[in-house]
């Protein structure tokens, strides 16, 4: 940690985000610290009802691991949605979280109620996945995910303007838990753009779903609430109107996929 302390240091994990940012002139690092020599940061362990994921764990490690079952479909779907194969081989969990913004892992870890541990010479700090940009001298070291219980399911999907490797115009991550009677016991929904360009939870939609059965009426209601709850920014890829429309479609489908899989 002493290395990170002195001056402005840039951390090089997988390089899949850092190098493109450098090439595009967005980051001009002076001192770069390569993490490949730091052992003990790449692991996926399960203990006492939690999964512990080291920050240098690659996206491919997450997709391939046998430790996560079908309930963690949100994570498994990264094999389809996160870049292309070489990207997944090199990109790290810590790197994606540190870069933040509209990226995939912050949304997925948020609906999984994960916590992120940052380490510095001064100690450690535990934060949520949407607010874990490391301060100077800090390094993301571990992500802790509580194990999913019975009658739960997660889902992630991305609407992109290419067959693959596109920037997510709309991405959604959903966690759903059904009661024994089939009604919604708990739900968490993330979208990449809720206000402007900021990702966020759909608290009003979540509230409207609790205690209800998921059917055509509930989904129509979800669409109506979504219409007012979000105001995604337009840009060259898609207008705000289009993003809103796709958001409704993706969230509705994600909820249905979760229900289908919980019912089995």
């Amino acid at each position: 940690m002493e290395l990170l302390e002195t001056g402005e240091k840039t951390v090089f994990a997988g390089g899949t985000d850092l190098i493109p940012m450098m090439k595009r002139g967005k980051i001009r690092p002076r001192d770069v610290i390569d993490l490949s020599g730091v052992g003990g940061l790449r692991y996926i362990r399960r203990s006492d009802g939690f999964f512990m994921i080291g920050s240098r764990t690659t996206v491919k490690d997450l997709v391939d691991t046998q430790l996560l079952d079908h309930r963690y479909a949100a994570i498994k779907s990264l094999g389809r949605y996160f870049g292309v194969e070489p990207t997944r081989t090199m990109a790290t969990v810590g790197g994606n979280l540190a870069s933040g913004g509209e990226r995939d892992l912050p949304q997925i870890f948020e609906v999984l109620n994960a916590k992120v541990k940052l380490l510095s010479a001064g100690g450690e700090r535990i934060v949520g996945p949407l607010e874990c940009r490391p301060a100077s001298g800090e390094l993301i070291v571990e992500i802790t995910v509580p194990e999913l219980g019975p009658r739960t399911q997660t889902w992630f999907s991305k609407f992109e303007k290419r067959a693959a490797n596109g920037i997510g115009v709309v991405t959604t991550a959903v966690f759903l838990k059904l009661s024994i009677d089939g009604s919604v016991e708990d739900v968490r929904i993330m979208l990449n753009r809720v206000m402007g360009r900021k990702p966020g939870r759909l608290y009003l939609v979540e509230q409207s779903l609790k205690g209800r059965m998921i059917d055509a009426d509930t989904l129509n209601n979800v669409a109506t609430i979504l219409e007012d709850e979000i105001n995604p920014a337009s840009d060259f890829r898609a207008s705000s109107e289009f993003r809103k429309h796709i958001s409704k479609v993706l969230v509705g489908r994600a909820l249905l996929e979760c229900v289908k899989r919980i019912r089995g």
Binding site: T16, V32, D34, G37, E85, P86, T89, M90, A164, N165
Partner: protein, 164 residues
């Protein structure tokens, strides 16, 4: 390994295997794997986009598919690298290379080494992939000349064959 002296470019001596041959070489901290590979003569490795989007620079590192324009040379220390030169030669071509020639899958040729490496990677993981699986894996590579019809046909034919 790190730059302990800000502003100074440090040089590191590293050891790795390239296409089965042990190589000991000096690299700068800022050199990428593609820089190292081309310096030692592996000219099949092409720089296209420099941002890991086009796949022209694809190589295998310990059997994994990697963008060599994104990986630092020092990060490949101790690893086994495979480039197109390691797959086959004119005298003893790999059956993927034969298939690409037979199907005239290459036009300008720039994307081809990266595509063959991706195909080799796929073949090693899934010996009998469907067309859908081939095309999905090939999202790692951009071909602007004539991809991907003949490329996919060549890979399908090569896959149907024996081992390696």
């Amino acid at each position: 390994m790190c730059e302990t002296d800000p502003g100074v470019i440090n040089v590191y001596k590293i050891e790795l295997r390239i296409n089965g041959v042990q190589v000991i070489t000096e690299v700068r901290g800022r050199d990428r794997l593609i820089d190292l590979l081309r310096k030692v003569g592996m000219m099949s490795v092409k720089e296209g986009c420099s941002t890991g989007d086009c796949g022209s620079c694809n190589v295998l590192v310990d059997g994994e598919l990697v963008n060599s324009c994104l990986m630092l040379a020092v990060q490949a220390r101790g690893s086994d690298i495979t480039t197109l030169e390691g797959l086959g030669t004119e005298d003893k071509p790999h059956r993927l290379q034969l298939a690409f020639v037979e199907f005239a899958a290459s036009q300008c040729g720039y994307c081809i080494p990266g595509i063959i490496i991706t195909a080799k990677y796929l073949l090693d993981k899934h010996p009998k992939p469907s067309e859908e699986e081939i095309r999905r894996m090939l999202t790692a590579n951009i071909c602007r000349c004539g991809g991907y019809t003949r490329i996919v046909e060549a890979i399908k034919t090569a896959m149907a064959g024996g081992d390696g």
